[in-house]
Symmetry: C2
Subunit: 366 residues, 2 copies
């Protein structure tokens, strides 16, 4: 039976290739597309076809330092020492963004993916255990997609402290996310030995990818909110009318950016937001479709019910001002076991589809 | 005349689209590819067709801190303070890599693009003035391409100092690259006013993109070479046999990685390397094709003749040991005006083509 199938594919292929070549030549798509249809290159997923991809930095400001000692430093072993005078001008607090633009655009506006605290845009790339992340998933759905690193994180770089940024940064230990992101059963559930780590019942975070996830952590500051806010607003102004999908700490930046420039925000998707906007300016969000999404195991957790409640209180301020906020608790949709890192959970694409369907229902995807 | 042409295109299009659709359906490529051939999506370049893209972290080590004071920090405005005990275990010194894999692979081995000091993989993405960079250019040529951020830079994150990394980092001022990367005429050629900045004759660096380039700078340490070396070797082991294209400081890491694992390195392309390998192990490189590339305005510069000479001396150690090193001074090929940031210069794709032709001549591209 298998033999017969193989034979019949062999017979069909020359015809398939011939038609594919003809079509590509007529359409003027070039040789790259041709080979994409060839069987030797076949993968389980269709190829990702982009009209472009790239990156840029936005925002920041100039700072001049003075009164600091001059240093002499060997930059490359064997090279003569370089005299380094830090009393100079610097460009600080810019923000990095990378983008993919699908050949077939189906989203009505670009999707901006904003990560949470102590993390970078890597949150939305390949999951720590090697599965597809939300960045490429949304690209495949035809969204122009922008992934950024908040100021002072990742490819945005960071500024000298305490001279420019006034505080010292915080570093997340290995155990923290396991115990606080609703992967394990709270304090004490992490163990240096992966086999001894205790997971919440039905946990969807890929436990075998936890040690890879920890490598994505970056230092964070607590005194950079204003700089981050400015840079996110510069990003929004550069890209133009957009939909913001934001996680955790990014909530404060996304809601405030939308309050500053409601004309540039076509929808807000709050993925377990831990930050909120200014309650007194809730009315500025009244014409923006808003979705708030929460995962599992929040009830009974020492911190998450208060974080969720703060989001819901802000949602009420928006609806009281005439706005519309849809709140989805995933377990009520039968989607169970999600940690705080929903975009990496084993069912991450099912969660993405909840967002996708909501955006499509709002007429933002065709 | 134009009228007639438009009419004839209208007549042809339904046929074109029909054949494109048929071919795509038969080849099972899916709807994404279909639309790519549609005229509404046409751009000046053919689409980038990838069988996959993504990212991962490799390497690093666990460090446990003790004896440090406990802190209380407000992480998100309005949230209760979080007690932060730094006496914990951390994962430090991993390295981030992103990759694009073309649907039609023409490179015999993956290309790894390793950036220089005080920079990240962003060096190889879109140029600061918004043109195509080497990452997507090599993808379009059919190379599986990996762009990484060295340990302690960009999305690799960085470790607490002085407890883990023993020194403090160095920050590049705005003027430094202009004066030292052979864009301007040396010390004093940079000015806060872009109109007053003096450029070298025939300079190819996009001067109007300089202030955007400065945003790509990140802090660097001088005591992390061993950690960076370990991570690059972990990257090489993860990806397998590869070709390394490396810039400036990365020379020391690439040559040493090749000396550690000559079996995994199929070619080395040194783009204005400022670092070299171990001269006593030069023989380990004797079976690896090596290209050393230099830009313009080196002669007469206060630092660059010595840097170039160090590279050539190392090249001689390799050839004395029976190896082969091709040295290309771009001006001798009629490619003039290149700064140290050749991958961003206005003629960056002409420089990439010199590399491409060399790799093809070595049988590494078909």
């Amino acid at each position: 039976m298998t033999q017969t199938r193989t034979k019949s594919r062999r017979t069909i292929w020359p015809l398939k290739r011939w038609i594919a070549r003809l079509a590509a030549v007529i359409a003027g798509v070039g040789p790259a597309l041709l080979g994409a249809a060839a069987p030797a290159q076949a993968t389980e997923r269709p190829p990702l076809v982009l009209r472009d991809m790239g990156s840029f930095h936005v925002g920041g400001r100039e700072v001049t330092l003075s009164g600091l000692p001059v240093e002499s430093v060997v930059l490359v072993p064997g090279s003569p020492p370089t005299r380094i005078d830090p009393n100079n001008s610097y460009w600080v607090e810019p923000m990095y963004a990378q983008y993919g633009l699908p050949a077939v655009r189906r989203g009505q506006f670009p999707l901006l993916l904003w990560h949470g605290g102590g993390l970078t845009g890597v949150s939305f790339e390949t999951t720590p255990d090697g599965r597809e992340g939300w960045y490429t998933h949304f690209l495949r759905r035809g969204w122009d997609t922008y992934v950024s690193d908040a100021v002072e994180r990742g490819r945005s770089g960071w500024a000298r402290y305490p001279e420019i940024t006034t505080s010292a940064p915080i570093f997340r230990p290995q155990r923290e996310a396991w115990e606080q992101f609703r992967i394990g059963e709270g304090l004490g559930s992490w163990d240096p030995d992966p086999a001894k780590r205790r997971q919440l019942a039905g946990n969807q975070f890929p436990a075998d990818g936890y040690d890879a996830f920890i490598k994505q952590l970056v230092p964070r500051w607590t005194t950079t909110d204003d700089a981050i806010q400015r840079a996110y607003e510069a990003l929004l102004e550069r890209i133009g009318p957009s939909i913001i999908v934001f996680h955790s700490q990014a909530g404060q930046f996304a809601f405030r950016a939308a309050q500053a420039r409601p004309d540039l925000v076509k929808a807000l998707v709050a993925v377990e937001t831990s930050g909120i906007g200014r309650a007194e300016d809730a009315a500025k969000l009244k014409d923006i479709p808003i979705l708030m999404l929460y995962g599992d195991h929040i009830v009974g957790h020492p911190r998450w019910p208060a974080i969720r409640q703060r989001g819901l209180t802000f949602a009420k301020a928006i609806t009281d001002a005439g706005g519309k906020v849809d709140v989805i608790d995933l377990p009520e949709r039968g989607i169970r076991g999600n940690s705080h890192m929903l975009m990496m959970d084993r069912n991450n694409l099912a969660v993405a589809d909840v967002i996708q369907e909501w955006l499509a229902a709002k007429g933002l995807w065709r």
